[in-house]
């Protein structure tokens, strides 16, 4: 099983900034989305947030009215990443750094000896050398994959589809 995760955050620093949205898509070997997971998370320290981040992810206090506390969101996500699983993402180190910091802050155990990481952006650089940009939007466009906007679940869905197309490129 593979789970593609994408986070929206209040900035780039996992120590200073916070997760404000979690999107994830769980899939089997076919790389077809089976389980969709989406939670908006209430930021607790808006004073540390980067306005640039909010311009990217579209956060406004009004649009996050249905958001839940981070611990609730992580408790819901955790069973999906607790087992023998590959966590994938676009620049997955960023998302995992935020998840690990959040788990540590909330006193949740991150340890899982069977968890693997797969960075689809690195795979794109390896399989599609020479592109001008390796942003998710650029690579998706190159592969003819529709990108439904810069939100966590849309990015995760797009990343999974890009991964499926990359597998075709590699003829795996």
């Amino acid at each position: 099983m593979i789970i593609v995760i994408d986070l929206e955050t209040t900035g780039l620093d996992p120590v200073e900034h916070e997760i404000i949205e979690i999107g994830a898509v769980l899939s089997g070997d076919a790389f077809a989305p089976s389980i969709l997971f989406e939670r908006k998370v209430n930021p607790e320290h808006l004073e540390t947030a980067s306005q640039e981040a909010f311009q990217i992810n579209g956060f406004t206090p009004e649009s996050w009215g249905q958001a839940i506390p981070l611990d609730e969101a992580l408790v819901a996500l955790d069973p999906l990443i607790a087992g023998d699983i590959t966590i994938a993402g676009w620049g997955v180190a960023f998302d995992v750094a935020f998840l690990k910091a959040a788990y540590a802050r909330l006193g949740l155990p991150w340890m899982n000896t069977r968890r693997r990481l797969l960075d689809i952006c690195s795979a794109a650089q390896f399989l599609l050398p020479g592109l001008e940009s390796y942003s998710l939007t650029s690579v998706a466009e190159k592969l003819g994959v529709k990108h439904g906007g810069h939100r966590a679940l849309a990015d995760a869905m797009c990343t999974l589809e890009v991964a499926r197309k990359l597998r075709e490129v590699a003829r795996l």
């Binding site: 099983m1 089997g28 089976s34 969709l36 997971f37 069973p79 607790a82 087992g83 340890m111």
Partner: protein, 62 residues
């Protein structure tokens, strides 16, 4: 339930069972953690089977 979702349920159940076994046989420092994870993973599998979440074609929204 679609066959893809059914595969996910079977995978979650097999992982829960593996963790349950390893909570007795695995490294001592991880046993309690594995026991808790096993229960939580099984609860998600059972909830999916019960239809607690909205099915959207072949996908499920948790």
């Amino acid at each position: 339930m679609s066959s893809e979702i059914d595969k996910v349920v079977r995978w979650l159940k097999s992982e829960a069972e593996r963790m349950r076994v390893e909570s007795s046989t695995g490294p001592k420092g991880l046993r309690e953690h594995l026991r808790r994870d096993s229960g939580r993973v099984l609860r998600v599998a059972n909830a999916i089977e019960r239809g607690d979440w909205a099915e959207d074609g072949a996908r499920l929204r948790l």
